[in-house]
Symmetry: C2
């Protein structure tokens, strides 16, 4: 299935992030035609930038590439439930479908906490599909944090 291979790209980005000492989360933006427009992993530590989450970097790259602040019709694959900031940017960028892996009870903003897409202040609500390859994504995170203790 197409979405599996896109999530595998996102998992590759998460693994690359872990190898850089970053929390292993990866994201991929796919155009309506199925082209991978951008792929990114977390770089908050490397860039000293609290906004350098995988989702935000991938969305910013895809926007720069398409010359638009909106990614209408595009899909986002991310290995972990987006935080509230990323969820709000996903809405602002008009992402059509959000596919994510593991749930994030501690910091997530889609299915818990502020539930960004459930308020009228979210001017666009993507279709949301959770639990995609979630064991792989969760294992990456567990291994990363276990190795740092």
């Amino acid at each position: 299935m197409i979405f599996r291979s896109h999530m595998h790209l996102a998992l590759d980005e998460a693994r690359a992030a872990a190898a850089r000492g970053e929390v292993p989360v990866g994201a991929v933006v796919v155009s309506p035609a199925g082209e991978v427009l951008a792929r990114a992993g977390n770089r908050t530590r490397e860039l000293n930038d609290p906004t350098a989450h995988a989702e935000m970097l991938a969305i910013r790259t895809a926007c720069a590439r398409t010359g638009s602040e909106r990614l209408t019709g595009c899909d986002l694959y991310v290995t972990l439930e987006p935080c509230p900031a990323c969820a709000a940017v996903i809405s602002a960028a008009r992402i059509a479908r959000l596919y994510y892996g593991a749930a994030d009870p501690k910091s997530g903003g889609v299915a818990q906490g502020p539930r960004i897409f459930s308020h009228p202040q979210a001017h666009h609500v993507p279709e949301v599909y959770d639990g995609i390859a979630s064991d792989d994504a969760a294992d990456l995170l567990k291994d990363f944090f276990a190795a740092r203790r």
Copy 2:
């Protein structure tokens, strides 16, 4: 009062944004010693970047300048109530005090909608002071949108 002059800097950034054809919102980050670390206005259109809100740009610049992904003890002044994405980044950056001008019922994420700071997924909650020079900030926005109709 110090916070008035910092908000006036933020209003100057909002005016400069309007002159560039951007929604007029401005933000300033101030260090614990009172130094202006960064000032920015919206640049979403110029940069084709849905994350290029005044608050995010100012926080990213201040983080780059201080070499840290956290701005512990710093204050943020912004002319409009932050959106959910910016509010979540303000929390992630450990901003100590948030001063804002006009309320934003349509897109705000602090005092309405997702109320980002009211959930346990916000790992840091700043002190929040609203209504600072709010008439000036609101007038800028009204004039901007009236001129575009």
